[in-house]
């Protein structure tokens, strides 16, 4: 009965779902932007950028996506922003191994190091469009969140006793990986089965709420 009610009101629920995600992203971006402006810490910057791209992606997909003539282009832009957000999130965990902490950039969103993400995301979106599939997006995100899960698990094992949120971060990465796997399954084998999509939406809300919880708890004085 609940399932039927959800299916009957799915458009409304999608908007509500997007509102929750966009709200969470806005809070995370604002809170982390303040910390970044004070510290100029690159990890904080890439983390903030990830949620900025998630937020913009969801705004475009669920609020502008209702315009019937632009659905196709909006899906492409949504895919692009989602892939970029994933890259930023992974890079926020990896940047220390790649670049020096002291080097400065003119812009928070564009620099030579992360330019490669923009190119890679563009290529993924372009090839998916040409092939009429989502194969590359799903594969890239599954690889990306597998790596993020491994790194966050290593962080948790190393410092988990002193820094409690590392455990939740690892859980969030694992849930993201599961969500992307379900997405791929729903798309490739189950013809976008509505039940699977509901589970994915619920997983996404849990993941974003976990991050919101972490940001609010850690930044509280």
């Amino acid at each position: 009965m609940v399932y039927e009610w959800i299916i009957a009101n799915k458009e409304l629920i999608k908007i509500f779902y997007a509102l929750i995600i966009v709200f969470i992203c806005a809070v995370i971006v604002l809170k982390t932007d303040r910390l970044f402006r004070l510290s100029s810490h690159k990890g904080i910057r890439y983390f903030r950028n990830a949620f900025f791209f998630f937020g913009i992606g969801f705004i475009i997909r669920y609020f502008f996506g209702v315009l019937p003539n632009y659905r196709f282009i909006i899906t492409i832009i949504f895919e692009y922003f989602l892939i970029m957000a994933g890259f930023f999130l992974l890079y926020s965990l990896l940047w220390k191994k790649i670049e020096a902490s002291g080097s400065d950039y003119y812009s928070s969103l564009f620099n030579a190091k992360i330019f490669i993400f923009y190119v890679m995301s563009f290529v993924i979106v372009l090839l998916d469009y040409l092939w009429g599939t989502y194969y590359l997006m799903f594969s890239s995100q599954i690889i990306l969140f597998s790596l993020a899960s491994i790194i966050s698990y290593a962080n948790y094992k190393k410092n988990g006793k002193r820094h409690k949120f590392l455990k939740f971060y690892f859980i969030a990465m694992m849930l993201s990986l599961v969500a992307w796997m379900l997405n791929a399954l729903a798309s490739l084998l189950l013809n976008w089965h509505q039940g699977i999509l509901i589970v994915i939406y619920l997983l996404n809300i849990i993941i974003f709420l976990l991050f919101l919880f972490g940001v609010i708890k850690v930044t509280a004085k």
Binding site: I44, G102, L166, V215, V218, T219
Partner: protein, 90 residues
């Protein structure tokens, strides 16, 4: 082997030394910061350009560093920033 100090930690140590003394001469700050002269110069230039500290020169050409409001804000928020970086593995 001693662990290399993180950039954020060095900045915090410099700002801490200035805050404790209110105004501090460059040579004393160099000793307090425990950095090489070149590294010290780089950090000081960065902190001045980011308006965390200011260089005051009096009538006798005596130079001292003092904290700006932004520098004070950073010190107050340092624990939050450090906690954030550690808890999110950044």
């Amino acid at each position: 082997m001693a662990k290399k100090r993180e950039r954020l930690n060095v900045i915090k140590d410099i700002l801490d030394a200035i805050q404790k003394n209110r105004q501090i001469k460059p040579t004393r700050l160099l000793y307090a910061s425990n950095l090489s002269p070149q590294m010290f110069k780089d950090y000081i230039n960065e902190l001045i350009s980011k308006k965390f500290i200011r260089l005051d020169i009096d009538d006798k050409e005596k130079k001292t560093f003092s904290l700006t409001k932004k520098g004070n804000d950073f010190l107050q928020e340092y624990k939050v920033i450090d906690n954030f970086i550690e808890n999110f593995g950044l």
